[in-house]
């Protein structure tokens, strides 16, 4: 596996955090395998023909829109994404916009697209979009937020004086990693909405689903150490007795 390809294919941690989906599902949903080597003696036993490069935009990788955008045979111009050392824009952060018609306005980050270094700021940097038009009806226009580049188009807002600032990641004396405003030296706290997902606002307020195991049932310790394998233990519990010794066998 080529390391760079691997890096590009990976969906950013903060892009998928809100969806609360397992990585395995995301991988399965975005993968496009056209052909796989059949089982048997092959000089390349695990050869796979699949799509290697994906075009990331405002569609999440597990959605139908993404699949459509990356449908077989559909190519996109190459996108250059500036490498960023550490992601420092989170859902719920207050940012100031540096470009466009909303230049100078401040807003809250609503969505993150880490693969493209994009964020969407709630209600700002909007464009009109025409929907539902047909022969008789000209359609309605709705405002749609457009993504902004975190490297050049937005800046975090210092909560002490509510002005835009550049930041730096530093350690506190307790060893916590925090964002610090380089202008005032104040800490910019990470908002509580970072842990928010589509299923819950905070982990404490999670609404239990009918099939979920109760928290105390999860933490209950029923394990007792015993000098037996799993199979021996289960056989004993089920009352199965088998004293026959397996005849000698050979491994090769």
């Amino acid at each position: 596996m080529r390391i760079t390809n691997f890096l590009f294919d990976k969906v950013g941690k903060w892009s998928k955090q809100f969806s609360n989906l397992p990585d395995r599902y995301i991988k399965r949903a975005m993968e496009q395998v056209y052909w796989r080597n059949p089982k048997g003696i092959q000089y390349k036993p695990n050869a796979v023909v699949k799509r290697k490069k994906y075009h990331f935009s405002v569609h999440r990788p597990w959605t139908g829109e993404f699949r459509q955008e990356n449908s077989p045979g559909r190519l996109h111009p190459k996108v250059f994404v500036e490498p960023i050392k550490e992601w420092s824009f989170f859902r719920g952060d207050r940012v100031e916009i540096l470009v466009g018609k909303d230049k100078g306005k401040q807003g809250i980050i609503k969505q993150i697209f880490q693969e493209r270094n994009w964020v969407i700021v709630e209600g700002l940097n909007c464009k009109l979009k025409q929907i539902g038009d047909d022969k008789e009806f000209s359609g309605v226009y709705i405002q749609e937020e457009k993504p902004l580049l975190v490297t050049t188009d937005v800046k975090l807002v210092d909560p002490s004086d509510l002005t835009a600032t550049t930041i730096e990641w530093r350690f506190t004396e307790d060893g916590d990693k925090v964002r610090v405003s380089t202008r005032t030296g104040r800490i910019i706290p990470i908002p509580a909405s970072v842990e928010e997902t589509i299923d819950y606002k905070t982990k404490a307020t999670y609404l239990e689903q009918p099939k979920d195991t109760k928290a105390d049932a999860v933490t209950e310790i029923t394990f007792e150490p015993k000098l037996a394998t799993f199979e021996m233990d289960i056989m004993e519990k089920m009352g199965i007795k088998d004293d026959r010794v397996p005849p000698k066998s050979f491994w090769y």
């Binding site: 539902g132 000209s138 088998d242």
Partner: protein
């Protein structure tokens, strides 16, 4: 030994037991019409009739009378662009006969909803469309004025 490896059986050895089967079983609609007490499953390729019987009896508590299996060969197709041949995985079907008097009919897992549930956006779009039509109707009959012109 690994829990998922089937050991070999030798005469005089202990009975082979599977504690954590890797097997799956899918209940499917029968491809052909079956008597009412026959249930059709598609199962993992490694399963034998004995495995299926034990699986249903021990895990699901279902008594069976007879089990037959067949392997359905799936179609091969050529990739339209590249031309290589692709074949879907074969499917093993198990026809399980239940005891006399029991019957099974495949239920409707995706019942059709009678009332069309419209989303909020659909409702809003409908209202906007109606409003636009009313606006056109109101201004339609003014003399020497185009329909779209209004104060």
């Amino acid at each position: 030994m690994s829990t998922r490896l089937y050991p070999i059986y030798q005469k005089g050895g202990p009975q082979l037991r599977v504690f954590l089967p890797n097997f799956w079983l899918k209940l499917v609609r029968p491809p052909h019409e079956q008597p009412p007490n026959v249930v059709v499953f598609s199962c993992s390729m490694e399963m034998t009739t004995f495995d299926i019987r034990n699986y249903l009896e021990k895990i699901y508590n279902i008594k069976t009378v007879d089990i037959r299996t067949r392997i359905h060969m799936t179609k091969t197709r050529k990739d339209p662009g590249k031309g290589y041949v692709v074949k879907d995985d074969d499917i093993k079907y198990a026809y399980v006969t239940l005891p006399k008097g029991e019957s099974f009919e495949f239920p409707d897992l995706f019942p059709k909803k009678d009332d069309k549930e419209e989303g909020d956006d659909q409702k809003a779009l409908k209202a906007a469309k109606q409003g636009y039509q009313e606006f056109l109707d109101k201004n339609k009959d003014r003399p020497n004025m185009p329909g779209w012109f209004t104060v």
